[in-house]
C-alpha cells in the first residue's frame, strides 16, 4: 500500500515539481525538481529573492497554477491534472487565501467577505461554524466594522478581514502571499502573530511566501528557494539569521 500524505502528518505535499514557461531556447525554468511537505499545525515561510520561483511554488501548491511535471496533493487528494471545476471546489472548500493587497471583494461588506466561501457553496455557516466565525470576528476586533465596505478600512483592518475569511471555513491549509507587504511594522507583527496562533492552536497548516526576514522569523520553519530549487530548509530562526541565509545566496552567486 502506498503511503498517504496524511500518514506522514502532511496537509500539503509536492514531489519533483518542475515548471517551465515558454519552449525552445526562450524557455524559462521557474521550478526545477522541488519536493516539499507541509505538516498539520506548522507555520512555514517560503523565502527567496524576487524571481526565485517562490510564488510559482505557492500557486501550484494552492491549485492556482499547474506544474509542467511532478505531483501535487492537498490533504490526501492528488490535484495534479485536475480540471478547472474540480480545482475550484478544492480552493473553495479546502484552502484559505490571504494576499498582499486587493484581498476583499469591494462590493461586499466585512461580514459578507468573511462568509464568502460559504456563500459560494450556496449555504450558510451552521451553528458551530457560526460560533467559530463570531469568535474570530471578536478576537480580530472586527465586530464594530461588520457593515463597512473594504474601501472604508485601513490596510491592517483589510488584512484582518482576509485572515478571518481564510480561517473561517477551517481549511486545513492557508496560503499567505506577502501578507504583510503593505503594512506598517506594528500591524505586521499583529497579523503574523495571528497566523502563528492559527497554526499552533487550530492545527492549520500555513504557508507564507515572503521576502521579509522579520516576517519569516515568526514561522516554525523557513524554506529558502533560489533559482527554482529549495536551497535551505531550516527550523525557527531569528530575523538576523533568516536574513543571513538569504544574503548568503546573493553572495554565493
Amino acid at each position: 500500500m502506498q503511503t498517504k500524505p496524511s500518514d506522514l502528518g502532511l496537509v500539503a505535499r509536492v514531489t519533483d515539481l518542475t515548471k517551465t514557461y515558454g519552449s525552445g531556447p526562450a524557455a524559462v525554468t521557474a521550478l526545477d525538481g522541488v519536493s516539499l511537505g507541509v505538516r498539520r499545525g506548522e507555520f512555514t515561510a517560503i523565502m527567496g529573492p524576487s524571481g526565485s520561483g517562490k510564488s510559482t511554488l505557492m500557486h501550484i501548491m494552492a491549485g492556482l497554477d499547474s506544474p509542467t511535471t511532478g505531483r501535487v496533493w492537498i490533504g490526501d487528494e492528488e490535484i495534479t491534472g485536475m480540471g478547472d471545476a474540480a480545482l475550484t471546489l478544492i480552493r473553495r472548500r479546502r484552502v484559505g487565501f490571504v494576499f498582499q493587497a486587493f484581498n476583499l471583494v469591494p462590493t461586499l461588506d466585512v461580514e459578507a467577505n468573511v462568509t464568502f466561501p460559504f456563500e459560494l457553496d450556496g449555504r450558510r455557516p451552521n451553528t458551530t461554524e457560526r460560533a467559530w466565525i463570531d469568535s474570530l470576528i471578536d478576537s480580530l476586533g472586527l465586530r464594530p466594522r461588520l457593515r463597512h465596505r473594504p474601501a472604508e478600512l485601513s490596510g491592517g483592518q483589510q488584512q484582518r478581514v482576509a485572515i478571518a475569511r481564510a480561517l473561517g471555513a477551517r481549511p486545513a491549509l492557508v496560503f499567505a502571499d506577502e501578507p504583510t507587504g503593505n503594512l506598517d511594522s506594528r500591524t505586521s507583527r499583529e497579523v503574523l502573530a495571528l497566523l502563528a496562533t492559527a497554526a499552533a492552536e487550530y492545527g492549520q497548516g500555513i504557508v507564507m511566501v515572503t521576502h521579509d526576514p522579520v516576517a519569516a522569523s515568526h514561522a516554525d520553519r523557513i524554506v529558502v528557494v533560489n533559482d527554482g530549487r529549495i536551497v535551505a530548509d531550516e527550523g525557527r530562526l531569528t530575523a538576523a539569521a533568516a536574513s543571513e541565509l538569504v544574503l548568503g545566496l546573493e553572495a554565493a552567486r
Binding site: R92, F99, A101, A112, P117, E119
Partner: protein
C-alpha cells in the same frame, strides 16, 4: 500626434450605425420619389413627399441624438479606465486641456471612420433594396434609381460633428485627474458622487418640465396648441431625468436586483451595478431613451386613436375601421425609433465589456477563492440583464407618461367623456422586455467569455 482608436470600437460602430440609418432613410425617400415620378398616375409625390422627408429627418435626428448620448458615455468610460495613464502623462508635464483635446481628437477620428463605413454600408444596402424591388416588381422598371443625393451629406456631417462633440463632453473628467494619481498604489475606486450643483440643476429642470407638461395637457383640453407647451415641457423634463439619472436609476436597479435572489453569483452581479451609480446610469440611459421614445410614440398614437374613436362613436354612433392602418403606421414608427434602441444596446454592451476589463483583478480574486467559471459567467449575465430590465422599466414608465400627456395636449379638446386613460400596448411591452433581455444576455457573452478565460494567478497580478 498620438491619436489612437484603441477602445473606440464602440464609438466607430455607433457612428456607423447612425450614419447608415440616416443615409438609408434619405435614400428610400429618393427611391420612392423616383418611382412615383415614373408612374403617370401618381406623378409628383407633392406634399406626401415633403412629409416623408420630414419624417426621415425626425427619425434621423432621434438616432443621432441617442448615438451622441451613447458616445458621451462610452468616452467617459474609456477615460475612467485610463486614469492612471492620464495621470502619468500629466506627471510628465502634459496639460489637462491638451489631454482632453487629444481624446476629443480620437473621437473625431472615430466619427469620421464610422461615418465612412456607415455610408458605404448604406449605399450597399440601398443598391440591394433597389435590385430586390425591381426584381419583385415592387418598383416600376424603367427609371434609373440613382439614390445618392447631396442631402446625404447632412447625416454624415452631423454624425461626425456630434461624435466629436460627444467625445469632448464625455472627456471632462480628464480635467480632474491629478498627476499624483499616477503614484498611488490604490485602484481608483472613487465613487463618483453626484455633485450637489448637479442634483439641484436636475431637480429644477425637472420641476419646470413637469409644470409645463401638465400645463400643456390642461391647455390641450381647450386647444390642440397645448402640445407646443407640452413639447417644451417634455424636453425640459427629459433633460432633467438625464442629468439626474445617477439618482433615479440606482433605486430601480436595487429593486430589480432583488428579483435575482441570493445566489452568490447574482449578488456579486447586482451589487456591482450599485457600486458605480454613475457608470450604471451611463450604461442604462441610452436604452432608457430608446425605449421611452418607442413607447411614447405608440402610446400617444393609440391614446389619440382612442379619443378620436370615442368622439366618432358619440357623434355618428359608429366607429370607422381606422385601426388597421393606424396599427401598421404605429409598427413602422416603432421600428424606426427602435433603431435607436439598437444603438443604445451597443452602448450597454460596451460599458459591460469595459467594466469586465477594469475588474480583472477582482475576478482573479473571486476565482482564487472558489467562484467557478459558470458562476462567474452568471455574475456577468445577471449584471447585464439587471441593467437592461431596469432601463426598459424606467423607459416604459417615462414613455407612457409622455405619450399620454402628449395625446392629451394635442387631442384633449376633442374628448367627449373627459380624460381618456393611456392606452398601453402590452404586447409591445412584453416584446421589448424580452428583446432587451435577450440582447443583454447575448451582449454579455462577449465580456463573459473574456472573463472566463482569465487565469486567476495572472488576473491577480494585474495592476
Amino acid at each position: 500626434m498620438r491619436t489612437r482608436l484603441r477602445g473606440h470600437a464602440a464609438t466607430v460602430l455607433v457612428a456607423a450605425l447612425s450614419a447608415a440609418f440616416g443615409v438609408v432613410l434619405l435614400g428610400i425617400v429618393e427611391v420612392l420619389t423616383i418611382a412615383a415620378n415614373a408612374n403617370p398616375v401618381v406623378g409628383d409625390l407633392g406634399s406626401a413627399g415633403i412629409m416623408l422627408a420630414i419624417l426621415a429627418y425626425v427619425f434621423m435626428a432621434i438616432a443621432i441624438y441617442v448615438a451622441a448620448i451613447v458616445t458621451t458615455n462610452t468616452v467617459a468610460t474609456i477615460v475612467a479606465g485610463r486614469i492612471r495613464e492620464i495621470a502619468l502623462v500629466r506627471l510628465l508635464g502634459a496639460s489637462a486641456r491638451g489631454e482632453r483635446l487629444r481624446i476629443a481628437r480620437e473621437g473625431l477620428s472615430a466619427g469620421v471612420l464610422g461615418a465612412v463605413i456607415g455610408t458605404a454600408a448604406a449605399w450597399l444596402l440601398l443598391a440591394m433594396l433597389v435590385l430586390v424591388g425591381e426584381g419583385t416588381g415592387l418598383l416600376p422598371a424603367g427609371p434609373t434609381y440613382a439614390f445618392v443625393t447631396g442631402q446625404m451629406a447632412i447625416p454624415v456631417v452631423a454624425v461626425v460633428l456630434t461624435t466629436w462633440l460627444a467625445a469632448w463632453v464625455g472627456s471632462r473628467r480628464v480635467l480632474s485627474v491629478t498627476p499624483v494619481q499616477a503614484l498611488g498604489a490604490a485602484v481608483p475606486t472613487a465613487s463618483e458622487a453626484l455633485r450637489r450643483g448637479r442634483r439641484g440643476a436636475a431637480w429644477a429642470i425637472e420641476a419646470v418640465g413637469v409644470v409645463l407638461l401638465l400645463l400643456g395637457a390642461a391647455l390641450g383640453q381647450l386647444t390642440p396648441l397645448g402640445v407646443l407647451i407640452g413639447i417644451v415641457g417634455g424636453i425640459c423634463s427629459f433633460t432633467g431625468i438625464m442629468i439626474g439619472a445617477p439618482l433615479l436609476i440606482p433605486p430601480v436597479l436595487a429593486l430589480v436586483g432583488r428579483l435575482f435572489g441570493r445566489d452568490p453569483a447574482a449578488v456579486l452581479g447586482t451589487r456591482n451595478t450599485l457600486r458605480h451609480p454613475e457608470r450604471s446610469a451611463r450604461a442604462a440611459i441610452g436604452l432608457v431613451i430608446g425605449v421611452a421614445l418607442v413607447t411614447m410614440f405608440v402610446v400617444a398614437g393609440m391614446t389619440a386613436n382612442e379619443i378620436v374613436m370615442q368622439r366618432m362613436a358619440a357623434e355618428w354612433g359608429t366607429t370607422a375601421p381606422l385601426d388597421s392602418t393606424l396599427g401598421t403606421m404605429m409598427s413602422i414608427l416603432a421600428f424606426l425609433v427602435g433603431f435607436s434602441g439598437v444603438i443604445a444596446a451597443v452602448g450597454l454592451v460596451n460599458t459591460l465589456t469595459v467594466g469586465v476589463l477594469q475588474r480583472t483583478r477582482e475576478f482573479g480574486l473571486v476565482r482564487a477563492l472558489g467562484l467557478s467559471r459558470g458562476q462567474l459567467r452568471r455574475t456577468i449575465s445577471v449584471e447585464a440583464v439587471q441593467l437592461a430590465v431596469t432601463a426598459v422599466v424606467v423607459g416604459f414608465v417615462l414613455g407612457i407618461v409622455y405619450g399620454w400627456l402628449g395625446a392629451e395636449s394635442m387631442f384633449g379638446s376633442s374628448q367627449v367623456n373627459g380624460l381618456v386613460a393611456p392606452v398601453v400596448p402590452w404586447v409591445l411591452v412584453l416584446g421589448v422586455v424580452v428583446v432587451a433581455g435577450v440582447l443583454a444576455l447575448a451582449g454579455s457573452l462577449i465580456p463573459a467569455r473574456r472573463a472566463m478565460r482569465l487565469v486567476p494567478v495572472e488576473a491577480l497580478a494585474v495592476e
